[in-house]
């Protein structure tokens, strides 16, 4: 280490004011501080001792919390690949890992290199230090993309998100929208065919023969489809009933009664759950256990609720992620699903509430995206409201909007917009308390 330190000390003057590479000071500094913590001391006035935490450690804690999701994602990418080909391999097998790593790690590498590259450019132009925020963003982006995404799209999305989602606002800490979700939303709207449909499973060639029963669909799309189908069938039956009722006869009456009964059976919430049972290869491919564990198709890092909860545990224990937000997103989603159950206008609304918590990206979004300290609500009370509303809108988007199978991304982006407003009201109430105290 001594050698490294000496080398850095020798190079340092070149990057300081008046040195020949003065322009690149922030790049040098970023590398130097990555290797060695700076030797700066506290000022002569003010606190003489500082808390040992720094931004790098704080951000790395989030990255470490995501590692279970990443590793699981790598295995699952390979596992789904072999499932589709009909060559069943064990989930925790070297084969699965190798294929998964081969698909996933390049995405991670592209994400980091493009993002950090842009940070370096901006740091050099604006002469500001390189911020640590991208350590987290660079890992979040790959985890919310399908493994089949072309690498150039990853690069484009990262560039878009870092420049327009963050740097134009002034860099880490100043952005309004979650940077990783900005990247995902960009891809979602710019290249929808690469972000939805049968994109979740990596197949060697386009026309590869896949095993019968394997659809590669996410639970969200299965449910949306089943719900749509049920609604369509019901509409069809009801129309037929209406027509039949115009010609009353004993025969018709019996048939109408029968048809009505069937139509009612279409709207009791069992269909969507049944459709889980009938999808996939063999029994129980989409059962609660598999969906909770994450042995299903989906974005790289979001399929496993268990891994997200593991990350949540680390974030909550370390205090890096707000437990209030995590808990309230789940609570908001669950309460809204219960409410939807009561209203029950379509099959999706009738799906048992607990299914909502384990399908799609709800868990991943709640744990890693909603808790982003920069874009979330900043007041402690505000965090509850912020989380509850994210949960609420996620379910609303899921059950009412057929165009967007997943609601959490849009719900978080929407609430990013409203977080300052929530804070505004919390701050107002603080001010009002103070004012009231003065007048009593």
């Amino acid at each position: 280490m001594k050698f490294l330190r000496n080398f850095l000390d020798k190079q340092k003057p070149n990057f300081e004011k008046g040195g020949k590479w003065e322009k690149y000071h922030s790049i040098f500094e970023a590398h130097e501080t990555l290797l060695f913590t700076p030797k700066t001391t506290t000022k002569s006035t003010g606190v003489q001792v500082r808390d040992a935490v720094d931004m790098k450690r704080f951000m790395m804690t989030v990255v470490i919390a995501m590692i279970p999701c990443l590793i699981f994602g790598i295995f699952n990418t390979g596992y789904q690949h072999y499932l589709a080909l009909g060559q069943g391999v064990e989930f925790l097998s070297l084969d699965a890992f190798l294929i998964g790593a081969w698909k996933v790690l390049p995405i991670v590498a592209v994400s980091y290199s493009v993002g950090l590259g842009i940070e370096f450019v901006f740091g050099t132009i604006n002469r500001h230090p390189i911020n640590e925020g991208f350590l987290v963003t660079g890992m979040l982006i790959p985890l919310v993309l399908p493994a089949t995404i072309p690498l150039w799209m990853v690069a484009l999305a990262v560039a878009f998100a870092v420049v327009l989602g963050k740097e134009v606002f002034g860099g880490t800490g100043m952005n309004i929208f979650n940077v990783a979700l900005t990247a995902r939303a960009f891809l979602y709207f710019a290249y929808p065919t690469y972000m939805s449909g049968d994109v979740w499973t990596y197949l060697p060639q386009e026309n590869t023969e896949i095993v019968a029963g394997y659809t590669g669909a996410t639970p969200l799309s299965i449910i949306a489809e089943a719900s749509n189908e049920a609604s369509a069938s019901k509409d069809l039956i009801l129309e037929a009933v209406q027509r039949a009722e115009r010609f009353p006869s004993t025969e018709n009456t019996a048939l109408v009664a029968q048809a009505k009964e069937i139509s009612e059976g279409l709207n009791n919430g069992t269909n969507v759950v049944d459709s889980f049972a009938s999808s996939g290869i063999g029994d129980g491919f989409y059962d609660i256990y598999n969906m909770f564990m994450g042995f299903i198709p989906g974005s790289i890092g979001e399929t496993s609720v268990l891994m997200c909860l593991l990350g949540a545990f680390l974030l909550i224990f370390t205090g890096v992620g707000s437990w209030k937000i995590i808990v309230s997103v789940f609570a908001g989603a669950f309460a809204t699903s219960m409410l939807m159950n009561l209203i029950g206008l379509n099959e999706y609304m009738l799906m048992p509430a607990h299914y909502h918590l384990i399908i799609g990206g709800l868990a991943f979004g709640a744990v890693f995206m909603a808790t982003d300290p920069v874009t979330a609500a900043q007041t402690e009370k505000g965090k509850w409201i912020y989380g509850l509303l994210i949960g609420f809108f996620t379910i609303m988007i899921r059950v009412f909007n057929g165009a967007y199978p997943e609601g959490i991304m849009l719900a978080i982006l929407l609430m990013n917009t409203f977080a300052p407003l929530i804070d505004y009201f919390v701050v107002q109430s603080n001010k009002k308390r103070r004012l009231k105290r003065a007048t009593v």
Binding site: T41, G46, V47, D51, A52, D54, N430, R434, A438
Partner: protein
């Protein structure tokens, strides 16, 4: 009937204590953080030769706009001789803590007055003021008390909120607050340093009662309350329990009788109260005080008897474990770095010596450690697993300054209904109305010192707050 009359005094004390019980409040402070720093002063007072020089520093007093020295180099002064005043407020005298010869009137850039240094006499001479007995203190008028206090040099002990400035003698505060315990790291124990000063404390409180209708005394619920505080009359005694900053007078004000816009509240430390008491009972400005020498780098952390503004050289000479240290006048949260010949500030009862932290650490931002202290539990910071451990902490900055990231830790160490982050942001954009509405009048530096300590983004929160206070006060 006779029996009843005999019992009357006893009945009265009973009623008194009942009234006291009814009036006093007990408050549990749930937020905050005690920094478990190594190097607590042993409960013993060492005898050493007094420091040669003592100094008064105008920079210790907020709101002192035009400090003007009243003495020149070579002048002889007694303890209590005026040596300095504020051109904007000529009634308050800042007087010599010891008798001796003025050896230096030190000025800095733009001729800013930095300190007036006195070479102390071997035997102390005092300016004499009128003496009184405890029983006739009650006959004194506010005006006569005030005059004596302003002239003798005890007045600057009274600090006025908002802004934490030297009290305006023409104002009538709605209350005066005294915190009877200092919860900051390794702070001197008032019960120890004011041992046997009971009557002076009582007299001081009696004088303070002439300026206001209410004197509050905040005591530590979790410790045995010294007789100094428990027996004193003329105060509302309030109990506080919890971690630092429970002992900060600002926190106590917030929970007992918060400062609203337009309110004036005075605060004074028990040491200041005793000085006032001595002025009236002994007829002199007695600036003697016991200070605690603390910190991990001190060989024998213990107490020393000296005077206000003492030069720290004698206390630390041959008493440090290494020479690569930082010597701090005051505590590690609000203190100020001093050089080896520096002088303690007017309000300081403490010297803290800790290691300097100017070293690089390989991958120090991620390696797990039990040696570093953190309120956060971010990956690898394991201090929260060892709640009883004492830490040797150095001055390393631990990271670099960054944009604010709201982590919720400010709120965990701020036991007031104040949103520190929003207040600081209002100061940054110089939004006066917002600062006011968010409660800037209720806080001074020491109240946000823990926020500065825990700040992930490493801002100078205390300096920023003062900037905001100055903005409001002077515009």
């Amino acid at each position: 009937m006779n029996k009843f009359l005999l019992n009357l005094p006893r009945l009265r004390t009973k009623i008194d204590s009942l009234i006291k019980l009814f009036m006093s409040k007990s408050i549990k402070i749930k937020k905050g953080f005690d920094i478990p720093l190594a190097g607590k002063a042993a409960m013993q007072t060492a005898e050493i030769a007094q420091p040669e020089t003592f100094a008064i520093k105008p920079t210790d007093f907020h709101g002192m706009l035009r400090p003007k020295p009243m003495v020149a180099q070579g002048d002889n002064v007694k303890a209590g001789t005026p040596i300095l005043f504020d051109g904007k407020n000529e009634s308050v005298m800042y007087t010599a803590p010891v008798s001796g010869e003025i050896v230096e009137v030190k000025r800095g850039a733009k001729r800013k007055l930095l300190e007036i240094v006195i070479l102390a006499d071997k035997t102390m001479e005092y300016e004499s003021f009128a003496t009184h007995t405890i029983s006739n203190l009650g006959d004194l008028s506010r005006e006569s008390c005030q005059e004596a206090m302003l002239k003798s040099g005890v007045w600057p002990n009274i600090v006025q909120r908002p802004y934490g400035i030297i009290a305006d003698h023409e104002a009538t505060p709605k209350a005066i607050f005294i915190s009877a315990f200092d919860s900051s790291p390794l702070a001197a124990d008032y019960a120890y340093i004011l041992k046997d000063e009971d009557k002076y404390f009582e007299a001081g409180v009696a004088i303070l009662n002439k300026f206001t209708n209410k004197v509050h005394l905040g005591v530590d619920k979790n410790a045995e309350v010294s007789s100094l505080f428990s027996n004193v009359k003329g105060v509302q005694q309030n109990e506080f329990s919890g971690a630092h900053p429970a002992g900060n007078v600002g926190v106590q004000i917030h929970h007992i009788d918060p400062i609203n816009k337009g309110d004036i509240v005075w605060t004074i430390s028990p040491v200041g109260v005793v000085q006032i008491g001595k002025l009236f009972l002994e007829g002199k400005y007695d600036a003697s005080r016991t200070i605690a020498l603390t910190g991990s780098e001190v060989k024998n952390p213990q107490y020393y008897k000296t005077y206000t503004g003492a030069c720290i050289g004698r206390f630390i000479a041959d008493n440090l474990k290494s020479d690569h240290v930082r010597v701090i006048g005051g505590n590690i949260l609000t203190g100020e770095q001093l050089n080896s010949k520096g002088h303690l500030g007017f309000f300081d009862n403490q010297i803290t010596v800790i290691p300097e932290g100017d070293y690089h650490e390989f991958l120090g931002w991620i390696t797990p450690t039990t040696k570093k202290l953190s309120v956060h539990r971010a990956f690898g910071l394991l201090s929260s697993f060892f709640p009883k451990k004492e830490y040797v902490l150095d001055t390393n900055f631990h990271g670099e300054e960054r944009a604010f990231v709201q982590t919720g830790t400010f709120e965990k160490v701020m036991p007031m209904d104040i949103l520190p982050m929003f207040l600081i942001k209002a100061i940054m954009v110089e939004d006066f109305e917002e600062m006011e509405a968010l409660g800037i009048y209720e806080v001074i530096e020491e109240d946000v010192a823990l926020c500065e300590f825990v700040d992930l983004s490493k801002h100078d929160i205390q300096a920023m707050l003062r900037q905001g206070l100055d903005l409001i006060q002077y515009s």
